[in-house]
Amino acid sequence: MKHKPHSHSVPHHAGSPRTLRQIDPGSAARVAGFAAGTASELRERLLAYGLIPGQTLSVIAQRPVTVIQIEHTELALEDTLAACIEIAAAH
C-alpha cells in the first residue's frame, strides 16, 4: 500500500468521503460516521469500541492492518473495516 504523502490536502468528491484507511500513520482524525452499507453488527462493535461520530483517534499504523488508538485502547482493524469508517474533513 502506498500512502499519498499529503492525502488530506487532496480534494475529494463529495460522494466519497475520506475513510480511516486513508489517514497517514502518526496523524489524528475525527470520526464522521459509517459508510453506507456497513453491516449493523459491525457498527455496534465499532461503536462499542468508541468509534462514535465526533470521537478523535490517532492512527498508529496502516500496515499490516490499520492500528488506531482511542482513549488508551489500541485497536487493530483490517482494511475492509477501516474503509467503513468515514473521517470528518479537517476543520
Binding site: 449493523s40 453488527e41 457498527r43 455496534e44 462493535r45 465499532l46 461503536l47 462499542a48 469500541y49 468508541g50 462514535i52 461520530p53 470521537q55 498508529i60 499504523a61 500496515r63 499490516p64 492492518v65 492500528v67 482513549e71 488508551h72 485502547t73 489500541e74 485497536l75 487493530a76 482493524l77 483490517e78 475492509t80 473495516l81
Partner: protein
C-alpha cells in the same frame, strides 16, 4: 460484626465487564479460587463459580468479557445467560480505568438492570501512568453507585471493595434514550413486567436488550412468554426499526456512548501525554510488517532454547538418566524383586510396560520437566500481551484459510493444551471459523507435552531435523486450512481486535499459573499414563500385543519404514499423543534420524488425545468428531510415508 455482615450479604455477586480488564484477577482475589488469567481478551470463555469466605460464603461468579450487550459470540452469550439466570445477584462491573468511556457505556446499561451494583475501576495505576486522573467520588455521584479504584494484580483497593459489596444498592441512574425508543420501552414494560421479578432484571433493561436483538435473551423469552406476547414485542421492535435508518442496536449503543462521553468528560483529568514509553514502542515494533518477524523468530528461538534444550535436554537428562535411571528405578526394581514373589505382579510394576517403569517414569521424569518449562515460558508470554500482537502479524496468513488473525489465539493456546484450546474457539465469531480452527488444532497443533517431547527428540538429532519438522507441519496446517476454506461454506470475518499494552510478566502470576496448570496436568496425565501402561501390559500378557504389532507391520514398517516395535508407540498415541511420542523417545538409538523424524511427524499429525476428542464431541457433536478422526488418521500416515520417501530421495539421515 460477622452476624451483621451475614445478615446483609447479597445472594450472590456477578462479575461482569469488558474483555481483558481483570475480572479473573479480581475473582481470584475475592474467592481464592484460581482461574486462568492472561493479558489478552478472551481468556475466560465460561462462567466460573467460587465463594468469598471473607464475605460470609458469598457465591461469586466470573463471566466472559463483553464489549457491550447484546451478546454476539458464544462466550458473550454465556454472560447474558448468567445475567438472566442469577436472579438477584449483585453486579460488580470491573472496568478499565484508562478506558473510561468504553467502561461507562457498559455501566450505563448495567446500571438500569435494577440490580444492586458496584463499579471497580481497575488498573487505575495504568491510567495514572498515562496521565489520566479519575475523580471516583464524582463518578459515583453521577452514576448513583459505589465506585472503587483498584489494582487487582497487586491487591490494591480490594479491602475497600470487599467492604462496599454488602452495602451496594440499586443505582439511582436512568439514561434518557431518544423519544421514540422511550415510548416503545414504555409499551413493552407491561408484557415484560412478570418476567422482571423472576430474573431480577428490570423490564426496562430487558426491553433494551430485546430491542438490540440479543440472541440469548430471545431464546430465553421464547421459553417464558406466550407466542402471542412475543409477537407483540417483535411487532413493537419492527415498528421502531422502521422509523430509523440506523439499526436499533446501533442507535442504542450511540446513545450510551454519548452519555459515557459526557460523564467521562466531567470526571477525568488528562495531563498532556509524554512520548510513547519503551513498552509502547516495542508493542508497535511487534506488529510492524518488517520488524514483527525478527521479533517473532527471537521469541520462538527463546522458547526452543528454554523448553527444547534446557527442559527436554538438561532437566530430562538429570531426572530420567541420573535420578530415575541411576538411582530410583534400580532401587525400586530391587525392592520389588525381593518383596513380590509372583513374576507377573513384579512385571506389572517394573516390567517393560510396568506401571512404574513405564507409566510413572514417563510422566515424572520425561514429561514433567518439559511441560513445566513450557508452562513457564507460555505463562510469561501470555502475561506480556505479546500474543495479541501475533493476531495482527498472522492476519494475512490466516486470511488464506478463511480465518482472521484472532484464530492465532486458540492455535497458540493449543501449543499449551489442545483440549483447552478447542474450548477457546468460542471466542471466534462464526461456527465456520470454529470448525476450521478445531480441525486444524486436532490435526497439526502439538500440545505442550507432545511438543516438549518432540522438541527434545529433535534437538537430540539436529537443528535441521527441527526445521524440517516445523516446515512440514506448517505446510500441512496451511494447505489443509486453505482446502478447508474452499470446502466449508461461509463468509470470512475481517479482523478487529484490541491490543492490550505490553507489560513485563509478573513472576508471581506466571508461577501461580504454571502451578495451576501443572496440578491439572498431573491429575489428568498420571492416571492416563498408568492406564496406558496397564493396557499395554495386559495386551502383552495375553499375547495380543505381538499380534497387533504384526498387524501394524505393513503400515508401520512397510509404509513408514519404522521398526515394527514402533506400532506400540502409535497405539499409545491413541491415548495421548505425548505418550506415543515418549514411546518413540524411549526407542532412542534403535531409530535412525530419518526414522525418528518420520515417526515424530506422523505422531504430530495423528489423532488428538482422548480428552481433546471428547471436547470436540462436546463442541461439535459426535458426527463431526468422527469425521475429523476419519480424515486425520489416514492423512497422518499418508504424509508420514511421503516424508519417508522424500527423505530417502534426499539422502537425509538414513
Amino acid at each position: 460484626m460477622s452476624s451483621e455482615l451475614t445478615a446483609s450479604v447479597p445472594p450472590g455477586l456477578l462479575l461482569v465487564g469488558q474483555p481483558n480488564v481483570g475480572k479473573s484477577v479480581l475473582f481470584h482475589a475475592l474467592t481464592g479460587r484460581y482461574v486462568t488469567v492472561s493479558n489478552y481478551p478472551g481468556t475466560t470463555v465460561e462462567v466460573s463459580r467460587g465463594t468469598a469466605q471473607a464475605l460470609g460464603g458469598l457465591p461469586v461468579l466470573d463471566t466472559p468479557g463483553v464489549i457491550s450487550l447484546p451478546s454476539r459470540t458464544g462466550d458473550e452469550h454465556a454472560t447474558t445467560h448468567a445475567l438472566l439466570g442469577e436472579a438477584n445477584a449483585t453486579l460488580l462491573q470491573v472496568g478499565d480505568a484508562k478506558n473510561l468511556r468504553r467502561t461507562l457505556q457498559l455501566t450505563v446499561l448495567m446500571a438500569e438492570m435494577g440490580r444492586p451494583m458496584l463499579l471497580a475501576l481497575n488498573m487505575i495505576d495504568e491510567a495514572e501512568a498515562r496521565g489520566a486522573t479519575v475523580d471516583a467520588a464524582a463518578l459515583a455521584a453521577e452514576l448513583g453507585l459505589p465506585v472503587l479504584p483498584t489494582v487487582a494484580t497487586r491487591g490494591q483497593g480490594i479491602d475497600a471493595l470487599r467492604a462496599a459489596i454488602p452495602r451496594a444498592a440499586v443505582p439511582r441512574f436512568r439514561l434518557e434514550y431518544p423519544a421514540d425508543v422511550e415510548s416503545t420501552l414504555d409499551r413493552m414494560a407491561a408484557p415484560l413486567a412478570p418476567l422482571g421479578e423472576g430474573c431480577g432484571i428490570a423490564p426496562r433493561a430487558l426491553g433494551l436488550l430485546f430491542l438490540a436483538g440479543d440472541g440469548e435473551l430471545e431464546g430465553w423469552l421464547e421459553g417464558r412468554l406466550g407466542e402471542g406476547t412475543l409477537d407483540t414485542l417483535r411487532a413493537l421492535r419492527d415498528a421502531l426499526q422502521l422509523e430509523s435508518t440506523e439499526p436499533l442496536a446501533a442507535v442504542l449503543q450511540q446513545t450510551r456512548m454519548a452519555a459515557a462521553e459526557r460523564i467521562a468528560g466531567r470526571v477525568i483529568r488528562q495531563a498532556p501525554q509524554a512520548a510513547g514509553s519503551f513498552a509502547q514502542r516495542l508493542g508497535a515494533r511487534a506488529v510492524h510488517p518488517v520488524w514483527g518477524w525478527p521479533i517473532l523468530l527471537a521469541v520462538l528461538y527463546a522458547i526452543y532454547g528454554f523448553v527444547g534444550e534446557f527442559g527436554a535436554g538438561t532437566l530430562v537428562g538429570l531426572l530420567e538418566e541420573d535420578l530415575f535411571g541411576g538411582i530410583i528405578n534400580p532401587w525400586f526394581e530391587g525392592a520389588v524383586r525381593a518383596l513380590v514373589p509372583w513374576p507377573w505382579a513384579a512385571d506389572l510394576l517394573i516390567g517393560e510396560y510396568g506401571l512404574w517403569t513405564m507409566g510413572m517414569t514417563y510422566a515424572l521424569a520425561l514429561i514433567l520437566p518439559i511441560v513445566t518449562t513450557f508452562f513457564i515460558a507460555f505463562g510469561a508470554l501470555e502475561d506480556s500481551g505479546y500474543f495479541s500482537r501475533l493476531t495482527v502479524l498472522s492476519n494475512r496468513s490466516f486470511s488464506k484459510m478463511g480465518l482472521n488473525g484472532r484464530a492465532v489465539l486458540p492455535m497458540v493456546l493449543g501449543l499449551g493444551c489442545v483440549t483447552m484450546a478447542t474450548l477457546t474457539t468460542r471466542i471466534l465469531h462464526s461456527p465456520r471459523e470454529k470448525l476450521i480452527v478445531t480441525f486444524l488444532l486436532a490435526l497439526a497443533i502439538p500440545c505442550s507435552a507432545q511438543l516438549g517431547v518432540v522438541m527434545g527428540m529433535l534437538a537430540g538429532i539436529s537443528f535441521t531435523a527441527t526445521l524440517i519438522w516445523f516446515v512440514v507441519v506448517l505446510a500441512v496446517l496451511v494447505t489443509v486450512g486453505w482446502l478447508a476454506n474452499r470446502v466449508i461454506k461461509g463468509r470470512r470475518i475481517p479482523l478487529m481486535t484490541e491490543l492490550p499494552p505490553l507489560r513485563l510478566p509478573a513472576v508471581g502470576n506466571v508461577l501461580t499459573k504454571t502451578w495451576a496448570r501443572l496440578k491439572w496436568y498431573l491429575i489428568e496425565v498420571i492416571p492416563l499414563f498408568l492406564l496406558g501402561a496397564f493396557i499395554l501390559y495386559v495386551l502383552d500378557r495375553i499375547g495380543a500385543l505381538p499380534w497387533l504389532i504384526e498387524a501394524g507391520e505393513p503400515l508401520v514398517t512397510g509404509w513408514l519404514g519404522l521398526p515394527k516395535e514402533a506400532s506400540a508407540a502409535f497405539l499409545m498415541g491413541f491415548l495421548r499423543r505425548d505418550f506415543g511420542a515418549t514411546g518413540l523417545f524411549a526407542m532412542g538409538a534403535a531409530l535412525s534420524p530419518a526414522q525418528m523424524l518420520v515417526g515424530i511427524v506422523t505422531l504430530t499429525l495423528f489423532v488428538p488425545c482422548f480428552a481433546s476428542l471428547m471436547m470436540i464431541v462436546k463442541e461439535h457433536g459426535a458426527r463431526r468428531a468422527a469425521l475429523m478422526v476419519a480424515l486425520i488418521v489416514p492423512l497422518a500416515f499418508f504424509l508420514g510415508g511421503l516424508l519417508r520417501f522424500a527423505l530417502a530421495a534426499a539422502g537425509w539421515g538414513q
